[in-house]
């Protein structure tokens, strides 16, 4: 690696820089590199929706072709979250196409974008400790239901994995996940009330 420092340097470039470079030069290879970073995620999401490896692989290629056209039509700030929206849209549109009889409202990309921005905003509990308004959060955690509180405590404060928690609390991993999800939602509501 030391022998090819330039290559390595290029590799390390953050997304925003690569994106800027692409928008400037329109060099497809730059976008290709950017895409390659998240390709496994795109593939995973496609797999989630299609449940078939072959169809998902095709979708990964289609999305790759799609972003070359779409990227100029939108003002993309965060490539990763934009790619997430494009991927999800592609999969959902494809699944909807399959059912011609039904009329399903297809949300526009703007709407998706709005939704994504909200999602992207970090949940208080996901923030690193120093940016957490700790006291308020602790109070809110105390007010959670017992199971949810235990899960949050083990997962976030004692850094236990789902599997460990499921072992300790004697419940399924799925249950642990849903408890954490619900707890997070409750915490958010609680925190907003505090403000």
């Amino acid at each position: 690696m030391q022998l090819i420092p330039f290559y390595r340097k290029k590799k390390e470039k953050p997304d925003s820089e690569l994106l800027g470079l692409y928008l400037e030069t329109r060099e497809p290879e730059v976008l290709g590199e950017l895409y390659a970073r998240y390709m496994h995620l795109v593939y995973g999401v496609c797999l989630k929706y299609f449940k078939e490896p072959e169809k998902s692989k095709d979708a990964v290629i289609q999305i790759y072709e799609k972003i070359h056209l779409e990227i100029h039509r939108h003002e993309v700030k965060n490539f990763k979250s934009w790619l997430y929206v494009v991927t999800k849209n592609h999969c959902l549109m494809d699944l909807r196409k399959k059912k011609p009889g039904e009329t399903v409202r297809v949300s526009t990309e703007e709407e998706w974008g709005l939704f994504m921005e909200n999602e992207a905003e970090l949940h208080p509990v996901d923030r690193t400790p120093d940016e957490m308004p700790e006291q308020a959060l602790e109070k809110c955690i105390e007010r959670l239901k017992a199971e949810q509180r235990k899960c949050i405590d083990l997962f976030y404060l004692k850094n236990k994995s789902y599997r460990e928690i499921s072992g300790v609390l004697e419940m399924e991993e799925k249950k642990v996940k849903s408890h954490i999800q619900n707890a997070k939602r409750n915490l958010k509501i609680c925190m907003e009330e505090k403000k």
Binding site: P14, D15, P28, E29, G32, Y35, A36, R37, Y38, M39, H40, L41, V42, Y43, G44, V45, C46, L47, K48, Y49, K51, P53, S56, K57, V60, I61, Y64, E65, K80, S81, L83, Y84, T87, K88, E119, L122, H123, D126, F155, Y156, N159, K160, S161, Y162, R163, E164, I180, K184
Partner: protein, 426 residues
């Protein structure tokens, strides 16, 4: 997992799924997933395939994308090349399409010349009322005729350069008008009129194809109308909608409701008239304009092809756009004697005779027959516990009786039971 990284690598996914992470690492990974729905959904997706496939699939995709990148570079060249190809193909097609016009004109003119002389002779001889009628029509339509005249020499002169073409075209109408006015003055004399017309005709050899295409009221002079009727040879009924055309020309017409037709013909016996009709054999007759022709068509004796039904996959009925009908091989019926119930009854009447010494005059034996899917009687039950002697006789009668057809339900032959009553009389 480095915190400065903007995403979780495929390698991390694999390690998590292969359970190669410590619990602390797992927690960090799961926390990342909590933050990022993209990764969370991807992990959900990966749970649908074996871990070993994931690595392979990603490798394959990476390869595809890099090869795509390279291909993109050539796409401009490919686009330019294909454009050029289409363009040149278009030019070739255009030039090829243009050429045949000239030889075609040349051919028809040379072919037509002797024909014309023949028709001229013909028109000169009979010179009946029809000719004069035609003439009047034409002279009335002098304007249209001029138009013809302008175009015809133009076609003829295609070989020569365009400069002279125009001049010739300008000259032509005047001479044609001259010919026609000549004809007008000498109207009373049919022969001379015909002659003058043939003279003007010779000067601008007419094309049969042209006259067919134009639906003008003026009938070109050398054309004659053949009148006739198409009938079936079987019963002499008229055949409406039969096609009649003259070989070697584009003159064609369809017979009317009474089977009658009027066909414009070029007066030449080498071009016979052909009549055809669906289900009838095609007939060829000589062109004859002097009398009413009755053309009888023989019915065609061709066996139609057998229909072969081929299946091409299956389709859900609700997705089908065409109508669906089910063809049953067997119609649903109850079990029955092959020759019909009546013949069975008369058979039984003859056979069911009581022995002479039997105490009773009339005895009834009720049977229950079991008929299998092949129409064979497999079982016979004595329903009314009648005399075993009579029962055995009844069994014998049924066994020797007419053949049975099995019951058919939903298009399939099935086993069935049939109640029977045999009345024995003396």
């Amino acid at each position: 997992m480095k915190t400065k990284k903007e995403h979780i690598s495929a390698e991390d996914f694999r390690r998590y799924m292969e359970d190669r992470m410590s619990d602390a690492e797992r927690n960090r990974f799961e926390r990342e997933l909590q933050k990022n729905p993209f990764e969370a959904e991807a992990l959900e997706g990966f749970s649908h395939i074996p871990v070993t496939d994931m690595q392979k699939d990603l490798q394959e995709l990476k390869h595809k994308i890099t090869s795509k990148k390279r291909r993109n570079k050539y796409s401009y060249w490919a686009a330019a090349a294909s454009l050029l190809l289409i363009l040149s193909a278009g030019v070739i097609w255009y030039t090829l399409n243009e050429k045949p016009v000239i030889p075609e004109v040349a051919q028809t003119t040379t072919q037509q010349k002797p024909d014309e002389q023949e028709t001229n002779d013909k028109t000169a001889q009979p010179a009946d009322a029809e000719d004069t009628e035609m003439l009047q029509k034409e002279t009335n339509a002098t304007e249209q005729y001029d138009l013809n005249a302008v175009e015809m020499p133009a076609q003829k002169q295609l070989k020569s350069d365009s400069g002279t073409k125009k001049m010739a075209a300008a000259e032509a109408p005047s001479s044609s008008v001259k010919g026609i006015t000549e004809g007008q003055t000498q109207m009373e004399n049919h022969e001379e009129a015909a002659e003058s017309i043939s003279r003007s005709e010779n000067s601008f050899t007419q094309q049969p194809a042209y006259s067919l295409l134009s639906s003008e009221p003026s009938i070109p002079r050398h054309m004659q109308i053949m009148r006739g009727k198409i009938v079936s040879a079987d019963d002499s009924t008229p055949l409406p909608g039969a096609t009649i055309w003259q070989k070697g020309t584009q003159n064609a017409i369809v017979s009317n409701a009474e089977g009658k037709f009027e066909l414009n013909t070029v007066g030449d016996s080498s071009n016979p008239v052909v009549a055809s009709f669906v289900g009838m054999e095609t007939a060829e007759v000589q062109t004859a304009t002097d009398s009413f022709q009755v053309i009888a068509l023989q019915p065609e004796q061709i066996a139609l092809d057998e229909i072969v039904i081929t299946g091409h996959g299956t389709q859900a009925k609700r997705e089908l756009t065409s109508s669906v009908s089910t063809v049953k091989i067997y119609e649903d019926t109850k079990a029955r004697p092959e020759a019909g119930m009546d013949s069975l009854n008369s058979y039984l009447e003859k056979q069911a005779v009581l022995p002479a010494d039997y105490p009773k005059e009339r005895e009834v034996v009720k049977l229950l027959l079991t008929i299998n899917e092949y129409g064979e009687i497999t079982k016979m039950l004595n329903r009314n516990k009648s005399d075993s002697l009579l029962f055995n006789q009844a069994k014998e009668i049924i066994r020797n009786g007419p053949d049975w057809l099995p019951e058919v339900k939903d298009g399939e032959r099935i086993v069935s039971e049939k109640k029977m009553k045999i009345i024995f009389r003396k």
